[in-house]
């Protein structure tokens, strides 16, 4: 064991001393690739170009558990740019953000994807990200920027809406009109039918709390009191709500109203028609960002990676790979998404700065109301 540690230390020292030779070889090997693949995508707003320093091959991505892009696509990028993508994925957006904050100054990678609008302010305040804006940001992407940052550190990559979903087959079978709004959920007709993951343990759960805060302002605890009195069930994770409680989930649950995503109807297609519907007046938009980490070893590689995430190829693969909508307008959607996944036109919003300032207070209040 100690031998291992010693070996690791030894290797580190060795690498440090022979580092120049290794990186020089890499540089020579990939120099042609970088010029052909670069072109429109690399060499954006940053002044620290790859021209002087020897090129580092590995680009280390720090991300969350849901990171997923087709292997082929990644291989293509690696071939074009000469970089090699190393993925370090763990936890959810909250854990990812806190990990970045804790390792500030000595980041565990070069670039990060997955900090969302509910955690963005915390990361920005801590100075986790370096300034970088891709040279060409497609029109419309700017609307997802964090207010105040305006794309200078964080580049929006995808968005998804957390919405209340209903099992339309259940409501048809029970001859009951499905609820449409947040107000409907507290009506006696829907008593004991709603299940949501908790705000303290689940990021969609938090998004739903934020939706109610956006809708009811300071009166939101009253709404939650009514919701609880109307028999709402709270679970610790999305999986419990969907797979155990929801009538369309794997566990054949008993509740036909669940908190989930606006893209869900695309996943419940049976015999050419979807069995669920997202209530578009109940949605809260989550935006995921990418950014170059302050203190990154491979800044040009990190910047090239952010550029690539905005490229048409990656944007088009986001729905099938990560269940999210691309931020670039006009990106073609998969057929079932185009048909069944409806997006809200006016989602409920709370600013990232407000979320950051009030998260603890809100969660405490929420726990008090819901644990009664």
């Amino acid at each position: 064991m100690r031998l291992r540690a010693l070996a690791t230390i030894g290797t580190t020292v060795l690498l440090a001393t022979t580092g120049c030779a290794v990186t020089a070889k890499n540089d020579a090997g990939v120099s042609t690739g970088s010029t052909t693949g670069g072109g429109s995508t690399t060499g954006g707003g940053s002044t620290t170009g790859a021209t002087t320093a020897p090129k580092i091959k590995d680009v280390v991505l720090v991300t969350h558990d849901s990171w997923n892009l087709p292997k082929k696509l990644v291989a293509q990028w690696e071939q074009q740019t000469g970089y090699h993508l190393v993925v370090r994925a763990s936890g959810d957006a909250g854990r990812l953000t806190n990990k970045l904050v804790l390792t500030k100054g000595a980041p565990d990678g070069d670039v990060s994807f997955g900090v969302d609008n509910t955690f963005a302010t915390r990361a920005l305040k801590a100075g986790v990200f370096a300034t970088y804006t891709p040279a060409t940001v497609p029109a419309g992407v700017g609307q997802y920027d964090v207010a105040g940052d305006d794309g200078s550190h964080l580049t929006p990559i995808d968005h998804s809406d957390v919405c209340v979903n209903v099992d339309t087959t259940w409501f048809a079978a029970h001859k009951l009109p499905a609820p449409q709004t947040l107000d409907d959920l507290v009506k006696p007709a829907y008593k004991g039918l709603f299940v949501t993951p908790g705000a303290s343990t689940s990021s969609p759960g938090m998004a739903f709390l934020l939706a109610t805060i956006a809708k009811y302002g300071d009166a939101w605890p009253d709404y939650w009191k009514k919701l609880m009195a109307n028999g709402a069930e709270i679970t610790d994770g999305w999986d419990q709500a969907y797979e155990v409680e929801f009538t369309q989930g794997g566990g054949n649950g008993k509740r036909p109203i669940v908190l989930s995503y606006d893209s869900d109807p695309a996943f419940t297609v049976k015999d050419g028609t979807t069995t669920t519907q997202a209530l578009l007046d109940t949605c809260f938009t989550e935006v995921e960002y990418a950014g170059v980490l302050a203190g990154a070893k491979n800044v040009p590689g990190a910047e090239a990676f952010v550029d690539w995430l905005l490229s048409p190829q990656v944007q088009a693969k986001l729905p099938k790979s990560m269940y999210v909508f691309p931020v670039v307008a006009g990106t073609p959607l998969p057929a079932d998404w185009a048909t069944y996944a409806k997006e809200p036109t006016q989602p409920l919003t709370v600013s990232p700065a407000q979320i950051d300032a009030n998260r603890e207070k809100w969660l405490q209040q929420w726990s008090d109301v819901t644990s009664r």
Binding site: R88, S90, G94, N98, T103, S200, D236
Partner: protein, 572 residues
């Protein structure tokens, strides 16, 4: 108390005599150098524990104490005054205590039935009982809740502390059955027979003869179970429906969500204090380990007097089998029909590509990591066990040994979140730039398995009559040769048993692994977690199927270990 039943354990009274003789013949100079020798033997495990456990935990807790780079002890102490912290502590202590008590009460009759009675298939049942040990909490949580909201909804315990305690018992009952059962198997039957011959009723015999002799094993198992219960995270949240908070769930919320390091540090310290207190009490109660040098008893046929125990055991087995059965059934159902499609799908990346690699790749990797972790845990555990079971000559030395023994139990009692983040903030610069080392996952898993290994090996080693070593030495054997002829024959079977335990613990480990796992090396529990977190009925079915594969793999490994185990030596 101890002295009263000492004459029953002939081996240990012999040990005491021989060590007293040895002690008096020793000169003072060498008794000073003994603690140093002890430290040398324990140096490697202590160094590993220091780098991969103490340093990260201290680093993380230290951040809470110095929020702005300045020490702020009052700030941390103020956290302990928060009402939710106090209620979390209270909930943790009472729920873990009740769960431990129920686990022990249910485990004892099952240990007796499965280890002392000649029943068909008992090996298979014993192996199967360990299955819950490796099942991912998230899957068991779903299985439990499908039962509690479906066929068992008449119990109306969903979302209550009763459900939480039932979940904790489900996960831990095997620990008691194995540990106490093994001790029971190796118990000398003659004192109990003598008591019975003198007219004592069966209950009196059990209370006055058997129970005191089993006490070390029961206390050892109960300490491990309590640590598992007190640091359980998923069960409390899933089965309690977020209504109950324990110290562990608070640490998780404060660290991963609110980034309130001060609060997390206070709670981590609280957790450590509770764990250390528990270990101190446990060590006191465990005191004299039973000797292994006895005539093993052959299992006997069940009689009329065994009926209550048999009924209770059936209850325990049913209780464990129900959620597992629900999992198996769920994994075999596809769109309302029986099918193996979920299992066939394990070689794919899931519907809508939920995974980057097929689940079979993850299983392969899990097995490899588990082998590495097991080897590590065994090597370290053996060194620890050897150093804490050397003969003691002075009070200081005994205390040092006791501290060492307890030190290696700590990884069970400290939050995986604290450890996971601790890795990131402390192992980040040379010479310890290890946070990206592929060895981090096996090392973290080995640390979790280490307490189980130590608790398995220590009783076996402590049971060796020291006169055997002296005899070997006087016949001219060097230290190495004496180890080969005396210790190895006694140790290799408990080593295998420990290997089984460590393997299972590593295979099922999720908490620390999820902090370290990367895409290139996602273990099966991590993959199951990912599958279940993605929409699509196939992914849910695949998660269930993967859990069943994990369970079956464990059961097979345990069955192999069962066949190799020798009845006269204890486990844990």
């Amino acid at each position: 108390m101890e002295r009263r039943h000492l004459p029953l354990t002939r081996g240990s009274s012999r040990n005491r005599g021989s060590s007293r003789n040895r002690g008096s013949s020793h000169n003072r100079g060498s008794s000073l150098s003994r603690p140093l020798g002890l430290l040398a033997l324990a140096a490697i495990p202590v160094a590993v524990l220091g780098i991969f456990f103490l340093l990260p935990v201290i680093g993380m807790v230290g951040r809470g104490f110095r929020p702005e780079g300045r020490w702020d002890v009052p700030g941390v102490l103020a956290v302990l005054g928060r009402s939710q912290v106090q209620s979390a502590l209270w909930f943790t202590v009472w729920s873990a205590t009740v769960a431990t008590a129920v686990t022990v009460l249910l485990g004892l009759p099952a240990a007796y039935v499965l280890h002392r009675l000649a029943l068909p298939l008992r090996r298979l049942v014993r192996a199967a009982l360990l299955v819950p040990f490796v099942l991912p909490t998230i899957v068991v949580g779903i299985a439990f809740r499908v039962l509690l909201t479906g066929p068992l909804s008449w119990l109306s315990i969903d979302g209550t502390p009763v459900a939480i305690i039932a979940g904790l018992v489900f996960f831990n009952v095997a620990v008691v059955v194995r540990a106490v059962g093994a001790a029971w198997e190796s118990l000398d039957a003659r004192p109990a027979e003598a008591a019975a011959a003198l007219g004592a009723a069966p209950w009196t015999v059990f209370r006055t003869v058997t129970l005191p002799a089993l006490r070390p094993a029961i206390v050892g198992a109960a300490s491990v179970v309590f640590l598992f219960c007190a640091t359980s995270f998923g069960i409390v949240l899933t089965l309690g429906g977020l209504r109950y908070r324990s110290v562990e769930t608070e640490i998780y919320l404060l660290t991963t969500n609110l980034l309130d390091l001060q609060g997390a540090a206070a709670l981590s310290l609280l957790q450590l204090v509770v764990v250390v207190l528990l270990l101190a009490v446990g060590a006191r109660l465990r005191a004299v380990p039973p000797s292994g040098q006895r005539v093993p008893v052959r299992p006997h046929r069940p009689g009329v007097g065994d009926v209550p125990q048999l009924l209770l055991t059936a209850l325990v087995l049913g209780f464990v089998a129900l959620p597992v059965g629900a999992l198996v059934v769920g994994s075999l159902r596809v769109e309302g029909r029986w099918s193996l499609a979920n299992y066939r799908a394990l070689t794919s990346t899931g519907s809508h590509q939920a995974l980057l690699e097929p689940a079979t790749t993850a299983l392969d990797l899990s097995l490899r990591i588990a082998v590495d972790a097991t080897l590590l845990a065994l090597t370290l555990g053996l060194l620890v066990a050897l150093s804490v079971t050397r003969r003691t000559h002075s009070r200081a030395e005994r205390r040092l040994r006791g501290t060492l023994d307890a030190l290696f139990m700590l990884p069970l009692g400290v939050s995986a979140v604290t450890l996971g983040f601790g890795f990131l903030v402390t192992l980040d610069r040379p010479p310890l730039d290890l946070r990206d080392s592929p060895w981090l996952v096996p090392i973290a898993q080995a640390l979790v398995a280490l307490p189980l290994v130590v608790r398995t090996l220590v009783p076996a080693l402590a049971g060796i009559d020291d006169r055997q070593r002296q005899a070997a030495a006087s016949l001219g054997a060097g230290p190495l040769r004496s180890a080969v002829v005396v210790e190895v024959p006694v140790l290799w079977r408990p080593l295998l048993a420990a290997a089984g335990f460590a393997f299972a613990a590593s295979l099922g480990e999720f908490g620390a692994t999820s902090f370290l796992a990367r895409d290139e090396n996602a273990t099966l529990p991590v993959v199951i977690y990912r599958l279940i977190g993605h929409p699509g009925p196939m992914n849910y079915g695949m998660a269930l199927a993967a859990s069943c594969v994990l369970a079956a793999t464990t059961a097979v490994v345990m069955l192999v270990v069962e066949r190799l185990r020798v009845p006269s030596l204890g486990v844990l």
